[in-house]
Structure formats: structure tokens, C-alpha cells
Amino acid sequence: MKKLMDRLLKLDRRWTFLAIGISAVLPFLFPIGLAIHPSKEVQQVFDHVQALKGTGKPLVISFDFDPGTDAEVGPMAIALMDHAFLNNVPVLGLNFIYTGTSLAEIHIKKAAEKHGKEYGIDYVFLGFKTAFPNVMINMSKDIRLSFNADYYNKPIGDLPMMRKIKNYDDFGFTIGLGGTRMVEYWIIYGVGPYDFDYAIGCTAVMASDYYPYIQTGQSKGIIGGMKGAAEYEQLLLDAGLTETLGDAAMGLDSQSLCHLVVIGFIVLGNIAYFGEQRRKRKARQ
């Protein structure tokens, strides 16, 4: 028993890595299919996007994430665009993180191709712009003050979809997706002064930082991490818009198992620790 406790206390971290690796991969081979229960914060975002149906106003997505956070934030971007395109809601994409511009373009193009949408009519990608505070202030007056042309250098005036979009008054719903404070800057420079409907999509670690914005009404909801993205996919399935869940839901089984494994290791570590403390007390006596 003493030997076992010692071995547990001095466990080589590579065993934990192996356990995590197996628990991460296994659910992809043998799906568990745990039920996903959407939170009210994700439901709020869903309801706002759903309300755009038939209005002709676009869903504006700010793709402010880079490849590092793509695993968490990418699936929510895809789910949001699926939702918009399935309801024939136009999508307007832009981005303020230069390291993620190409990634954003890949995502928006892929989603559009999946739904047979046409560039310039159903979706537009404006690309990256520097000095985001000025851009956000300019967009309150006229988006053309900052974006004369789109990502492909086509003049904005040549895009039919953009003829109906001038400023925040013409945005149906705006979502900032990112793993940095950029999602917060949208509130500071955009929602705060100009008051339009906005929601946050961010990594799980950052989500708890932004709950106060829901309390103040500055964010209409939060999609936090892969769990949030999976909840959104579940809502799409429940609404009959999709027939299957997406990548996030698949990853959630994996995440669930990993969490259990981590908790298991914590419990084991504490058992070994208490065993060691007890042994030391006995030895002192």
C-alpha cells in the first residue's frame, strides 16, 4: 500500500498525458452521445439570429480569432453561419486580428459553398482593418468610411448586398467571435456609444469575464467555448434546421471524458497525499 501511495505521489506526468490522449480520442471512435442542454445565454443568441429571418438585415460576424483558438471558436462561427444561411439571412464578415484574416475567409467561404450562397448577394467578407476604434466609430455613420472595398478589393458599391447596409442601423445582429479582448472592445467602442444588438462568442476561459455584460444588457448572450458551440448546434437540431450535430458536439463527448479523467487524477492525487500524511503522523507517534 505504501509503495502504491509513493508511486501515485511521484506519478510520471507522461501517464497523465497518455490518459488524457486516450480519453480525448476514444469518444471520436466510440461516440457517447451525451445529451446537450442549451444554456439560456446561448438560447438568447439563437433567438436573436432566428429573429433575423425575413427581415433582410444581415448577421454581422467579427472573426477575431486566430488558428490557436480556432478549435474552440471556429465551430461556433460555422454554426452561426449555418443558422443564417439556412434562414436566407445575409452574412457580413469582417475582422480586426490580422493573424486570423485568412482563417476567417476560409470559414466564411466554406460555409457559403455548403449552402450554395453567392458572394456579393448572400454574403460579403470585408477583411481586416487596422485601428479598430476608428472603424467602430466610423461604422456608426457609414461603413464605407472605413471599408471602401472588400477583402478581394472589389468596391463596396459593386456588391448588391452592401447597397442596403450603411451603418449600425442596418445591422440585424452583430456577433464578436474571438479569444482576445476584441470581443470586449466591440462593447466599449460600438455597443456602448451606439447601442445596437450584439453578442459575444469566446473561449471557455474568457466567458466568465463577460457575464457582467449580459447583466447590463450590452451583450444579448454569450457562446462560451466548445460547449457553447455544441449547445448552438443542438438548438439548430431542435429547431429542425439541421439533421445532425456538428463538430462541437462531437468534441464535447471528448471534453466530458477528459474532465472526468482530470477529476480522477485529482482524487487519486489527494488519496495518495492523505495516505502519505497519515503515514507521517503515525511515524511521528
Partner: protein, 421 residues
Amino acid sequence: MLPVYAQDVKAPDSGALEKEPGSEEKADLPGAGLDVPSADEAQTTPPIPSPPLIDRPLPLNLRAEDVPNDGGWAIRLLWDKFPDGDIAAAVTNYEVLRKRGAGDDWEKVGEIKAESGKYADSHILAKDNKPEHFVIDGAQYSYKLRIIEDPAKESEIVSAVSEGQWLNTDHTIVLIATLLYVALVVFFIQRAKHGPKMYVRPIPGINAVEDAVGRATEMGKPVLYVPGIGVIEEIATLAAMTILSPIAEKVAEYGTPLLVPNRDPVVYSIAQEVVRQAYIKVGKPDAYVDDNIFFLSGRQFAYAAGVAGIMMREKPATNFFFGAFYAESLILAETGAATGAIQIAGTDQVTQLPFFIAACDYTLLGEELYAASAYLSGDPILVGSLKALDYAKILIFALMGSGFVAGLFGWSGILNLMKLN
């Protein structure tokens, strides 16, 4: 222009005037889409009775004024908001006409929906950004609104003069708070210069710095200092540079190698200078190795991978993580823990503190990072500024308490006083 008949207009929230995307773009002319019978049909179908025309509303209580708290070159028009559900207002658009002098012609400067209730005529809105279209400070401008769909209807003429403000009154409360805090800092700095030594609570992480450097010297291993991945404009990075100075002096005194990989090129230049000066100050300029302070990568995870590689190869005995860290914090801290190094971390990024707490031996939480340089230098003036910080916190607690009570009793006057517009 063809009038739009009331019966053809749907309620605003079903987006009647907005065409579905994917449909061919048609001109947004009123009457577009109306099913007008052909000549043949007109002979056989009964005549359609004329429905009443929409009475498009002019703006109520239109006024022009200088945009407050701005840099100038801007005038705004305001009018009363139309009631919710006002169909006529929902389908009305105005064109904004402006003239400068009495003899000038009216010039169209923009269009706006009647529902919006406001219009800003500013230089950043100037159509083609040409200076001749800007609103110039000091000159009187006259405005009127004309209904686009019914050009015979125009509003009254209103006038205003634009000027830039030298004080943003929306930030008054911030100015007062800042001046108050500056006064506190100056007071305690003066007191520290002339008064007795002030007590500050010990911070274990800072007390451990000397021992940590000593440990590295004894083991003959280098010290690794990671100044975060922030840019130099971030205060946390500046704080990291101020902490690097006394640590570099200690390291120079003991003759231990110091490695400082950087993510930002400006930070790299400053870090190099800081460490060089530290070696000069302790009288060992020849011991300074230029190559030990270097730029590694501008990409967050490439930098993290690079530093992790340095830790695995060089096996530093002591790791310092001070500055702004993001998602890579645990990668750095855990790799360092795997090499058996003693680790002291400090960041102002609240989301990364749990990772440092779990993986490092000592962690400076939030403001302790900013206090570290005062502790390490022992300079009474810097310690005095810490005291000001403590008293400012007491002031904030008092304000929070009064805000809580004011909120409970609905004393909006007090709450509005502290509101930042």
C-alpha cells in the same frame, strides 16, 4: 413619383421594403413590385378603387446643434422620435440639405431614415472626404430636411455653428478621480521622502526572488526571464521591464547567465538596454552577453514553443514570468515545472492567474506585479506610491458602498454623478 398605397405596405418588422437576398436587385422606387394591370386586363377587370395616400411625416421639433464633446467640424440634427409602430415614419426617408451663407444654394449632404431621430453632419461623414464638403468651425450652417418620397414637403430651416471643445465634460468624473488619485500619490511620495519608513505587507513571491537567483547560481544553471507577450504600450510589460532591472543586477552580481527571450521586437530592444545597464551598474560590463537577450517570434504559440524548447535544453534553475500573458501561460509554467525549476510569476491577466497559481511556486496577483519594483528596489518613494494605492482603494470602497445604498433607495442623482457617458 408613384405614391405607395397604404394597403401595399406591410408592417415594418416583416421587412416589407427589404428585398430577400438572392432576388434580383431592383431599384427601391416607391411602387416597385406593384401589380399594375395591363391595358387588356384593364378592360375586362373591374376598376380598382383608389386607396388613401400615406401622409408622410415631417420631423417634429427639429433642431440643429453643435455636437458636444467633440473635436469640431460637426453639427447634429435632432428631432423627436416617432412612436413605435408608426408605419408612415417607417417608410419615410429624408434627404439632408445644407447651406452655409445666405446667398449659397442648398446642397444635399446625406440621407437618413425618419425613424432614426438624429443625423450627424461631420467631416468624417463628408461624402468623398473632400475638405470643401466639411463643416467648418465658426461658420453658421442652415439645414432642412426634405422627404425623398414626397419632395414637395420640407421641414423648417434650423441653424447652428460648429466648434471644437477643449474639455470633454462626459469625462469630468474621470478627471476628478484621476486628479484625486494623483494628489494622493504625490502626498505619500512627499511623506515617504521626509517621514518614517512605511510598512507594506510582505509578498512571498518577491521575497523569494533573491533566493531563487541564489539557487540558480549554486546549481550553475541560468535564470530565465520571460517578460510576457504584451507590447510595450501595455503597463504590465513596462512593469516587467522595471522588475527586470533589479533582477538583472542581482544576476550580474552573482555571475549567473540570464536568458530573456522576447515576443515583441520593441520590448526586446528595451530589455537589452535594461540588462546592459544593470551589468554596467554592478561594474561587470564585460560579463554582459548580448546574445542572451533576443527576439524569438512574433507569434504567440511559436514563442511559447520556443521558450519551452529553451527550458528543456538549457534547464534553467529559476524561471521568472512577469508581464502580460494569455493562453500560452500554462504551456510555459508547466514546462518549467517539468524541468524542476523554481518559478515566480506575476501577471495582471485575471484569466491566467489560476494557471500560474497551479503551476508556479509563487504568484503575484494583479496589482502585486505593479508593486514588485517598489519592493525589490526598496526605494521609499516607490513604497510611498503603494500607500496611495491602498488609500485609493478605501475611497473606492466608500464609493461602492454609497452607490449600493443609493441604488437601494433609488437616489438616481448620486448614481448619475458617477456615470460615465
